[in-house]
Structures are given as C-alpha cells and as structure tokens.
Symmetry: C2
Subunit: 384 residues, 2 copies
Amino acid sequence: MERVAIIGASMTQFGQREGWIRELLAEAGIACLEDAGVDADELDHLYVSNMASGEFEGQTGVVNALVHDLDAMPAYTQRVDQTSSSGGAGIYAAWQSIASGASELTLLVGGEKMTHRTTGEATDVIASLTHPAEYKHGVTLPSFAGLTARHYLERFDAPRESLAKVAVKNHRNGVDNPNAQFRKEVDLETVLESPIVADPLRLYDFCPITDGSAALLFCPESVAREYADEYVVIAGIDGATDTHVVHERDDPTIMGGVVESGEGAYEMSGYGPSDVDVAELHDMFTILEFLQMEGLGFAEQGEAWELVEDGKTDRDGEFPINTSGGLKSKGHPLGASGVAQGVEIYEQLVGEAGPRQVDAEVGLCCNVGGFGNCVITTIMEAAR
Amino acid sequence: MERVAIIGASMTQFGQREGWIRELLAEAGIACLEDAGVDADELDHLYVSNMASGEFEGQTGVVNALVHDLDAMPAYTQRVDQTSSSGGAGIYAAWQSIASGASELTLLVGGEKMTHRTTGEATDVIASLTHPAEYKHGVTLPSFAGLTARHYLERFDAPRESLAKVAVKNHRNGVDNPNAQFRKEVDLETVLESPIVADPLRLYDFCPITDGSAALLFCPESVAREYADEYVVIAGIDGATDTHVVHERDDPTIMGGVVESGEGAYEMSGYGPSDVDVAELHDMFTILEFLQMEGLGFAEQGEAWELVEDGKTDRDGEFPINTSGGLKSKGHPLGASGVAQGVEIYEQLVGEAGPRQVDAEVGLCCNVGGFGNCVITTIMEAAR
C-alpha cells in the first residue's frame, strides 16, 4: 500500500481572535499551502475538522466556504466531526483519501471559533456531546476529570503535586511556542492554589477556551520529494471508541479508546512505545496526560505520575511530552487541536521546532474526543 | 485496487417521527446489520452522515452515541457533514475506508431529526449553509430555485408544466415506497395551483421537512460473497464543489459540481451516461432534476424537460429517474437523503425493489449539498 506523506504544516495564533471561523480556516489553509509551495487549484480533496460552527456561530457549510475562499473549486470537501478529536479524525480522513487513491493532494484544516461566546455557552456546546443520562445529573467532562483524578491519586498513592507538574511543564513548553494562547510559566504554588473547579482539580488543571486553526498537507510518499526536501510519513494510524456512558467503564483509569487506537497504530507502524521519541497528548485536563501515557504503554498503569515527578517528560528529559505546550498552554480550539498536535510533531521531525526542538525520528499524537469517547492515535516518522 | 461492495441496506420510515436522532440512527443501523446477517462487533468503522443534530436537538457526539447503542465499541467512528449531501459524502467516506485498507467492514448510517422544530426554525438551520452575503439579502435556497427555474423556462422555451410533471412522476413513484413520507399521487392541476413559494415554483415543487434514517454496509469485493449472494459494487464515485456564492457562477443552469463529480465517477467506472439504467437525483426542488439530468449527460443542456414531458423518465420509461419517489415524495432528512438514494439503487440492482422494480444493471446517485455547492455522484453496478 502507498504510504502517506505530510509535506506542509501551519497553525494560526491560538487565543482570542477576531473574525469568523471561515477567516481562521482560510488563514491556516493559505499558510500551509505556502509552506509547501502548492497552489490551491492543485488540491484534490480538502477536509475541515470542526465540531460546532453551527452552534457557535450559526454558520454551517464551512467546508464550502473554505473551498471558495481558497479558490480551490472543484476540489472535493467534507467536514469531519468527532467532537474534540475532530482534528485527529481529520488526519485519518486525509490519510484514507490518499491511501485509497481518491486524492493525490489533500489539505486538512482544523479550526474552531469559541471565545465570542461566554464560557458558559461554550461549555454548554461541549457538554452536548455527553450522554444525556449523565449530563442531566450534572456530570460534565470536568466532573469526570475530577472524579477520575481523585480515584487515581488515592488508588496509586500519587501526590497531588504530580498532576500540577503536568500543568507547570506544559506551560513552560508553551513559552517557546509563538502561537500558544498562554506564553507564561506558572509555578507549582499557583496551580495548587488556583480556584477549585472539580475537586481535586483546579483552574490550572484545565485547558482554556480558544480560537484557532491549524493545517496539514498530505500526498502519496512516492511524490513527496517533488514538493519538499524534508517531509514526514504517517507510519501508523488508528481510531477507536469507548462507551458513550462513561460510568459503564470497568476501570476509570483505563481509557479503552487510547489503548485500542494505540495498539492499532503501533501494529501498523511496526513501532512500539519505546520507539517513540516525542509525543503530543490530549491534556484537556492534567489527569488525561497520565491516562494516555499509561494507555499508550509509555508507563505502567498507576506509574505515569512518577515519570512526570522525575522530569522525564520535560523537554530535556528522556521522553518529552507536549513540547508544543499542549492543550493546556497552547489552547484547545476543538477542531484545530488534533491538527495542531500533528503540526508540532511534523515540525519536530523535520527540524523546524526552533527553541522547542528535541532529537526525534518518531513522534506520536493522541487526540481524545469527549472523555475518551473517541480517540485517534497517529505515529509519524521523519522521511529518510 | 480492491473494489468496494455494498452488502446490506435499510431505511426507516421517513416522515414525522417520534424520538431522537440517536434512536433513528440505531433503527436503520440495526436493520442494515440484520439485512446482511452481520453482528455489530464485527464492524471496523462506522460513519454517521448528519448535518445538524447539534442545531436541531442540542445533541452532538451522535457518532459515539450510535457506536454505544449498537454495542459496537471499539469500532472507529466519525460524523460526515457536507450539509444536504452529507449522505453521499458518507458513501465516499465509507468507500475510502475500505479502499484504503483501513476497514474491512464499514457501516454508514445517515439521519436527521427535524420535524420537532417549526418549519421556520428548520429552514433557518438549512439556510445557515448559504453565503452570508446572499443570505442577508434574503436569497435563500428556495429563492435560488425560483430564479433558476424562471431563467430555465424562458431561455429554453420549456413549459411550466414540465417542472410540475417532475413532481407528479415522483409522487406516483412514492406511492409504491412503503417508507416514503407522502404515498399519494398528485395531479398536474394540484401542483400548478398550489401556493407560490418562489415564483414560478409552488409548494409541490419543493421537498418536505422530514425525519428519517438510512444505512448501507460496505466491505471489500473480495469477501462480499461471504456475506451476501447478491450484492452491489461501487463502480465509480467522485465529489466536487462549486462556488459558495451562487451568483458568481457563469451559467445558472449549469451545476459545476454535478458536471465535475459526474465526469469523475464516469471515468473511474468506465461507464458513460448511456450505460446508466436507473438514477436517483436530488430533487429537493423540481428544477434540480432537470439540471442534474443535463449535468450528468442524460440530456443536452436545455432539453431535460423534453424527456420528462415524453414520459421517458417514468418508471416504465426508457430511463427511470427517482423510482424511490425522490426527495419530493420520500422526504428529505438531510443526512439520510444521500444514503437513501444508495439504498434505492442497491435494491434496484439486487432485485429487491418490489413494485418499484425496474430492469437495471447499472445505477447512479447524485446527492447535492446547498444549491450545488457540494455534489457527490456514485455509480453502482450489480455484481456478476
């Protein structure tokens, strides 16, 4: 089977942005095409990862708007929605478009515009992905995170500080990401003394509400060198689901979708956890970084916190995680987040990560929808 | 490349339905699996074509809900949105999932729940797909249809009655479709004397607001015989876009997306217009049936109306169109419509269309998003 290459990447400034979703999508799309030196009229397919432009802005049909704004007609287009993992699902859709032979050149743009709504309105839209039977009892995504964090800390005798250190690390990394929403360090005390959101988790254990967009450009590996000297290949990719009703899961510390999608991606790539040099994990809540580290085999169950405590996941550690700053400091514009994870791994693998650069040949992204409801794991390698 | 087979099909009763979108999706999904004798836990991928469950019902994450309701975890899932052509885009996504090797068994379920909202609310959601620059001047999709119909009738010297005969024909076909929303014949006078909506088009030139769901099951052709004695193969499929701003198009009677997607599907299949025995076209407005007939090469520009006048597109004519009753009488639950087109062609090609059965080896579906903004054309053939 033809392998799929990524030959261009871009992301907009994340944060509080003016304008509408279609402007953010076009900004990242145009920058990505320029990055690869490709004209929009060369595109065969164009996918947009976006959860809720209709709910946030009353604008649907954003895929057609983007094709129009890029002047890419008659390129095929489709919106990919998998809630907060829409970006990862977009990578999978773009991969399928190339691997199936349907497209020779596919642009993926992920984006979301949220900050013009109040935090309450924005979180209400996000909460609409949960099961009504849980939501009506008030068990929102942050509540699940709080319950899971308490369970994890007690069961595995982990210190509360280890969770806070995820936030401290990711904020530190974000300082060197010019597109991050928050480019400021936070110290342990600030995290530990921030307002309680869902006990034991506090404000700094949560990612912010964010506007932003990110893009990747895909082609068959056989023609990648025509576009780029340095490029990245998708070595493995898989997606998986877990129950919609979260309380039906046997063990709240095991994210089934992470485990299953990780196994699929490892199998396809021929790599294992120890081959991965750098990873972008979905740290919407600090506890999720632990659960993904364990689900993907980077740590045994109940032991991820020790790696964080020991600094092994720092940028200069043995196994850097979230060198981009993660969702925590970079921000979490739903449909963009999974694509932006891919942008970071792409930049790390082609050596364009600037002050965030680590030594890496193989990178992994894990993008999580809901509370692990849908998960995509992608393994990329630098072209040799 | 491995060809993709369709081994099962189902649709729910279309019309005004009780319950929520997740129940409608599950109803069609379960029926489709039963049709093929497949258990849900065999599924690799599960796609949901749906435009606006968040806007209509305040429920997002319906893909995860459906995986849960079918007990299909850890099957991969994703929502496919291309507004009113989401169903056709779902067929393309399912095709890519199989052709790329990502999945060996993919279920596609398309559905929409709309009738619990007022007609005004429902049409507002649909209108949100149009370009704001046109929408704010009141040019909605029905307006475009009225303007285009007037232009077509005058330019090609076509009688108003020819448009009405599309409605008469499709209503006549719908009588024999047990799942159609309207199973009643309408005569020419009724159409021509119904209330004006967008002059010269009247109430019976438009499809209704509808709830419903439809499903198709896909696998590689190499294993199709293990599941089904009779099955269908996707011979050609392609999608294309036209401008988001409708008034920027050079000729309002030429739907660029129809032409481009049709050419792509013909080229892939090796078939031409004269090889097609039966077609499901997107008759959201009667005028669209003419424009698609011409865009797909079934008639020269400005001459489709003559085929309708002559009865050639009747069920017992040379080239039957919309044997299902079309969107016109069957109904148009946005995300379901393109899938239901596929269900009709599947049933025609495997000989399960009952009283609607025509003699056909090759069938075509054309699913249109917006006013031709996004179009998918699929050509299917009976397995030999």
